[in-house]
């Protein structure tokens, strides 16, 4: 039985991967280019959801402020690009920093800055646990939200447009298909990285902390440091997703880091299946597709999604991925 489950799991992941790989080709054949940009967005949210699941599902850290790192990544891209087009320096002191359009510079910067923010926020938040942890992560993300709302130089409440997508040698990010495959690659790389991490010693310790932190401490593990590193890795993943979403929508506003966005990412994780790596991907695909479909029929789709969410919490805790014990990896 156990072996069968594993087979179904690998099968479903393989089917899902193949479907995602051929999607732009199919979209081209049925003449629905919109699908490509829709699924680019889905893949980016999937990346953010996987990063959250790393700390939530494996580390047991319930953060309601994950969108903050998502937003930071996006703002780094837009602000650097803004200065590149204006020809002005972002900072002249203490170190001169110019605007930049090159993705090879901008994206690592976005990831690093998100990771740094995660390190600070994590170091403070992880002093608490349970209810307090949820609320302090929420408060920090709202703090950053209001910071960007009042940042008039970069659009304040209205946000800031990306004049053109970043440049990357050999790849035309302006082309929707190439951009789609780049998002898919980014997701795959992060998934692979997360998978190695979860199955390494590090992952064992993190999961141990989730089950019983006191015991892990008694075994001599510096649990605070392990959890902090996990928090930072998750923040970095969200930052990468943020850099991608800025390029995808060519626009960023403080709304990207509002706490309801963190809630949405959390919903994706739960819907797909917490504590699994492919579950959040499935959750992102499902939630965004359901949103897209429902909004065709009614503008009030949230009135259905809300109760549905409650039912999922009450009766289907394992998520779609868990319920189907692999399922068929269907994408629509």
């Amino acid at each position: 039985m156990d072996k069968l489950l594993i087979n179904r799991k690998t099968l479903s992941v393989a089917v899902g991967a193949v479907l995602l790989l051929v999607l732009p080709v199919v979209a081209g054949m049925i003449d629905e280019p919109y699908l490509v940009s829709l699924f680019s967005r889905i893949l980016i949210y999937a990346l953010a959801a996987v990063s959250l699941d790393l700390m939530l599902g494996f580390g047991g850290m319930v953060s309601l402020g994950h969108a903050a790192f998502f937003g930071i990544g996006a703002y780094v891209v837009c602000i650097l690009s803004f200065h590149a087009f204006e020809g002005t320096a972002l900072l002249s002191w203490p170190v001169p920093i110019d605007g930049h359009q090159n993705a090879m510079v901008v994206w690592p910067a976005a990831v690093l800055l998100s990771a740094a923010a995660a390190a600070v926020i994590g170091a403070l938040s992880l002093r608490t646990s349970g209810m307090h942890f949820i609320m302090i992560t929420l408060a920090f993300s709202q703090m950053l939200y209001y910071f960007f709302v009042s940042l008039e130089a970069y659009g304040g409440d209205d946000g800031i447009s990306l004049i053109s997508r970043n440049t990357m040698p050999g790849i035309d990010l302006g082309d929707d298909r190439q951009f789609y495959y780049l998002c898919l690659t980014a997701l795959a790389v992060y998934l692979f990285f997360a998978w190695r991490l979860v199955h390494a010693r590090f992952g064992m310790v993190i999961r141990g902390c989730k089950e019983n932190e006191q015991r892990m401490k008694s075994l001599g593990f510096p649990t605070f440091r392990y959890r902090l590193v996990c928090f930072v890795i998750a923040g970095a993943g969200a930052g990468l997703a943020g850099a991608l979403i800025a390029n995808q929508t060519e626009y960023v506003s403080p709304g990207l880091m509002h706490w309801t966005r963190s809630g949405e990412i959390l919903v994706m994780v739960l819907l797909g299946g917490m504590g699994t790596l492919f579950g959040p991907v499935l959750g992102a695909v499902t939630l965004l597709l359901v949103e897209e479909l429902l909004s065709i029929y009614t503008e009030h789709w949230m009135v259905y999604l809300g109760p549905f969410l409650i039912l999922v919490v009450l009766f289907a805790k394992r998520g779609i991925y868990g319920l189907m014990a692999g399922g068929n990896g269907n994408h629509g």
Partner: protein, 304 residues
């Protein structure tokens, strides 16, 4: 000096609103151990029902009288249908389910009342201003809000210390099983406590009606501040909620007014205003971070 006293009163009034919101919510957090993100929805329900009745009948008092039971009943219904099932689940489930409730209520108000915000006027008998302190006129409506808040605070204090049901609530908070074994109907008690909390949220909502625009999603902006209040005060502690609410109300209001003035002393005006705006909106969250770092359990923790 004039400005300072006026702003102090404004801060006090915001603090009172926050106290009404957080008094009920801190009980739900502390006694039932449930994270309820949907508390702002009851604030919104109170505001909408109050505004609708006031606009139809022209009487603000009738508006309040309709809003309170509406919020309390909605709260007890939600407790019976959804929250009761979440008491034994982990925090994550509670966050997600109540997040679903927020979605539902926000969209429901959009369906019923539309996307346009409702505006209601301050009732005519409270429209003027009073000189509480000679030389400083202050709107009577805001004075009334402060008075109602103080009254509620006193009533809550009496309820918890002087009545049988207050005693039972405290007993249920400190040891649920034991209180149940001694014959207290815990289930009913929880429903009542929840209803009391949402009633207070509805009161805050209907009183905010003439000050703010009544619109879908209005509950979320005050909800986050309420969380900050509860964490600063200590989860489950009503005294903490009072102290936290006044602190947050004052820091928020005074920060917005005086930070620009302060920063202009040593920065160029254009730069100072921008920086002050950021700092002011972030100030309460920084306050919360500082409190959590030095007093992780809040300023006035409920137990010990």
């Amino acid at each position: 000096m004039l400005l300072l006293i006026e702003q102090l009163l404004n801060g006090l009034q915001l603090g009172i609103m926050l106290f009404l919101m957080s008094a009920g919510l801190t009980l739900v957090f502390g006694i039932m151990q449930v994270i309820n993100l949907a508390h702002g929805s009851f604030y919104m329900i109170g505001a909408y029902v109050g505004a609708t009745v006031t606009l139809r009948t022209g009487s603000f008092l009738l508006g309040i009288l309709a809003a309170l039971p509406a919020a309390a009943l909605a709260g007890m219904l939600v407790e019976t249908l959804v929250l009761r099932r979440l008491y034994k689940k982990d925090h994550l489930d509670q966050v997600l389910a109540t997040f679903g409730l927020i979605m539902f209520f926000n969209e429901l108000t959009r369906i019923i009342w539309g996307r346009q915000p409702l505006f209601m006027d301050v009732p005519s008998w409270l429209a003027g201003s009073i000189e509480l302190i000679p030389g400083i006129p202050y709107p009577s409506y805001r004075i009334a809000v402060i008075a109602v808040g103080i009254l509620v605070g006193v009533l809550l204090y009496l309820l918890f210390t002087r009545t049988r049901i207050g005693m039972q609530i405290r007993a249920g908070a400190s040891n649920r099983e034991m209180a149940g074994a001694l014959g207290v109907n815990i289930r009913l008690l929880y429903t009542l406590v929840f209803g009391l909390g949402t009633l207070l949220a509805g009161l805050a909502g209907v009183m905010a009606g003439p000050i703010l625009a009544v619109e879908a999603g209005m509950g979320e902006s005050i909800l986050i501040l309420t969380f900050v209040v509860i964490v600063i005060g200590g989860i489950g502690s009503i005294r903490g909620a009072l102290v936290g609410a006044l602190l947050v109300g004052l820091v928020d209001t005074l920060g917005r007014v005086f930070l620009p003035v302060l920063l202009r002393l040593f920065l160029s005006p254009a730069y100072a205003d921008g920086a002050a705006a950021s700092l002011a909106s972030m100030s309460v969250y920084m306050l919360m971070a500082v409190v959590l770092v030095f007093r992780p359990k809040g300023l006035l923790p409920a137990h010990g």
